[in-house]
Symmetry: D2
Amino acid sequence: MPAKLVAQRYGKSAVRVTKVRRLADRHALVEMNVEITLHGDFERSYTHGDNSSVIATDSMKNTVYLLAKDHSLDSPESFALHLAHHFVDTYAQVQAADIQIDQSLWRRIEVEGIPHPTAFESGGAETRYAMASVNGDVARVAGGFNDLLLLKTTDSAFTGFVRDAFTTLPQVTDRILATKVRATWAFANSQADFNSAFSRIRTTILSTFANHKSDAVQQTLFDMGAAALTAEPTITRIDLQMPNKHRVPFNFKPFGLEFNNDIYVTTDEPSGEIVGHLVREER
Amino acid sequence: MPAKLVAQRYGKSAVRVTKVRRLADRHALVEMNVEITLHGDFERSYTHGDNSSVIATDSMKNTVYLLAKDHSLDSPESFALHLAHHFVDTYAQVQAADIQIDQSLWRRIEVEGIPHPTAFESGGAETRYAMASVNGDVARVAGGFNDLLLLKTTDSAFTGFVRDAFTTLPQVTDRILATKVRATWAFANSQADFNSAFSRIRTTILSTFANHKSDAVQQTLFDMGAAALTAEPTITRIDLQMPNKHRVPFNFKPFGLEFNNDIYVTTDEPSGEIVGHLVREER
Amino acid sequence: MPAKLVAQRYGKSAVRVTKVRRLADRHALVEMNVEITLHGDFERSYTHGDNSSVIATDSMKNTVYLLAKDHSLDSPESFALHLAHHFVDTYAQVQAADIQIDQSLWRRIEVEGIPHPTAFESGGAETRYAMASVNGDVARVAGGFNDLLLLKTTDSAFTGFVRDAFTTLPQVTDRILATKVRATWAFANSQADFNSAFSRIRTTILSTFANHKSDAVQQTLFDMGAAALTAEPTITRIDLQMPNKHRVPFNFKPFGLEFNNDIYVTTDEPSGEIVGHLVREER
Amino acid sequence: MPAKLVAQRYGKSAVRVTKVRRLADRHALVEMNVEITLHGDFERSYTHGDNSSVIATDSMKNTVYLLAKDHSLDSPESFALHLAHHFVDTYAQVQAADIQIDQSLWRRIEVEGIPHPTAFESGGAETRYAMASVNGDVARVAGGFNDLLLLKTTDSAFTGFVRDAFTTLPQVTDRILATKVRATWAFANSQADFNSAFSRIRTTILSTFANHKSDAVQQTLFDMGAAALTAEPTITRIDLQMPNKHRVPFNFKPFGLEFNNDIYVTTDEPSGEIVGHLVREER
């Protein structure tokens, strides 16, 4: 057949694991959603139906649960690295393994102000994210988060943009800025303290978002990324995606009333999509 | 045509409004998703295409934004009542109006421990819920919440259930209990303090869930509802839906290992569905 | 505790079953998503954690697969009835059982115009729906469908509605009408030919929608329901929900151009919600 | 600030347009969901809040509707190319534009076997996909589809895979194969007949899937891609993603019964993820 396979990969997605560590004075709860992608010598499965080098995706699933038993799951980055190394080290035919993890953010229920030792409520739609790639001897690891929904009611302007025959948007010096942030950061090496990096970067991004006087979502993104690089020396790069989830001024004119920066139509689509990748500046 | 209209209603759903109140020292943010349903004399629209009594659903949408401008939106219950009365009072052909509101739970970003006056992060997937029904002179109002995701790692058993030819589930004295609670409570009248009721009931439900020793999800539901009725005298009834979002013990036997209440498969479906309606017991 | 359980029910949702019947010349494929709700003597599970009358929801799940093995699954209505009777007949403590089924609509892949005996493609997001309720000796059964997405580009007007201070919608004599129909119909008894009823009603609803000159979505709904009652003598009632999925004329005025019933903004929310319940008219 | 922007892009997603062409004997309906991404000289918006080169994403949205008015929308590929060229040609600061389009697949309602001229039903969750990238003078265009859900009840085996300490999956010579295909193909140039290519490739993929005797999803993928390359000479490459949507044999052993390739548990997660990229083989 006149076709050639130029690239292939395969794996398992949505392997969801819950781990409880039953400590003396409290339980620790971790829930992760794992995606495994293997690269390697699997061509004959595609071209000849020869599965002799194929690790069944069902076995990948088993591997997640088996390795979770003996691993502390102290961070998604460390477990992602552990899984990636496992696949590359165990199977000669695996050239590289990519592991993505989305971790749900449970927090302890507070009963009369005291965090409960064994009861938890959801931390929301936001997930902590990790990605580890092991390719032969080279390991790369990234952290991040998805779906952090933020909104500021002032200190956001959008003026001075191109005005032409396609433009109807008025210039505004005070608008609502709402966004659902996706952030990923690359660690310089695999020995970083992933958890303190996560806390420090997330806190920095939140406070920068809150205090920033924004002339464009792009500028807010850049300042958030720059602040994260400054705050966390163990990362070399940060990528940010910040869709603009528009709150549109309600048009009061037909009713003889005025919009006073008070009432907005909440929308999900269409949305602006702003993306930037930042590294540390070399001096 | 040999058909008769025995019931009809119509309205508008997913009217999403954002309101910012710009106070001296901070901004207050409210986001609500409003659904309006009208009951009344609209039959001829169905049977004859005669729209002379029809309030366009687009006008209902406008009404939400216009009334939101002059209302404090201090609680979803109060705004739902306001909207319901508006439709019944304004239009002779409207016999009854039902208003449902889902309110997103934004919280202030904390910068160095201090809540920011104008910046917010999402409170998660959970929404606060209100329902007001005005039918002629009678008004009923309910509060509640949706999608409160809870999990406890111990103090949950399930034993003593029916064992027959359809049963494979083992009895367990210590399992994970995870659920996504939907709660609605009926207020005795429209003069209640809806916000303090919401806080008190939510706090009570959380602490009951945390401290309860559960012999069945049903029992946990009942105790949560009973505690809410005790805690909040302004409500007469509470309805709870608590799907059982199973965490299934991973089967370690094929691997020569043991399950030690440590590693679970996280699932969404199928799920148990447990429902109960509680009132105050008459003495 | 001063609380009383006034109503309760429980069950299992999202039990998904695939059945293949391997006939001589072809395979038959059925996929159903089953929800079971039991009503009965389960109070002590709520009030005392006494599960002696509780059929585990896991056993309900098993029951679906076990009963599916011996049942032809020739229609969702017949299987829903079978399941409902099973629970009421098997367990003395079950007063009533409600079974809801959503059936995916697979169709055979056509290869060179010939339906393939063993390969299928999805029939889309629409599902066929059935509901059976058995309460003691009384059985009721309903059929229907969900999420039938329809659109007509003409023969839809909306004029003559209430114009007041809340109205901005212009009257239009020719608009797009798009809707996602949910229909359920009640059968007079359990001996109806459910499959031919489904085909006949669905075909009737489609052709009525297509040919109807609409003065309101309400009128379209009524004519669709009336036509269904006329077409299918075995049903006694039909309920229709028809959200108005608006296609909004794009505003060309700022660009010095005209809207010529050509370009619309496609929206999902907010949406109108139109509901009607029709029965056969007694003469 | 010690940060450097190494890459950036921005745009608008979920711009949804409905177009009706009112022909003499029938109406043509097209609905597209457009995503625009611009690359170019926008750094100062990020680094200085200087928006002088920024085309507002709101203007991009307007552009879609304005250009849709004068374009036939005869194919998503042609409109994607048109939009991409527009942005690169109109704005000096735009180096490159990527346009992605998902087109809903409406089909005409058949009334007594005759396709209706102005009424449509949804073609389901599957969407037709197009991607055009214009970078300076170079234009690339791709077609495809998303979410084509397929299932075959036989002629699918999975044997001979790696068996080790992580393996529990039995070898099976006859299983259900279900998948949700995402396919994209690259055209050799922008003058191809995009619509006939879409029809031919989709038909070829369906018939290959139906008739293929599969020893692995990977092999099915390869044969589908190879057949597409053979069938359609205007494409140079095809990429396929085929998650394995498992139908798991129900375990009848605890009930003293046998699984006879009849009853399966329908699952969505976890799922295998199989990916392959094929080109024409050079001879």
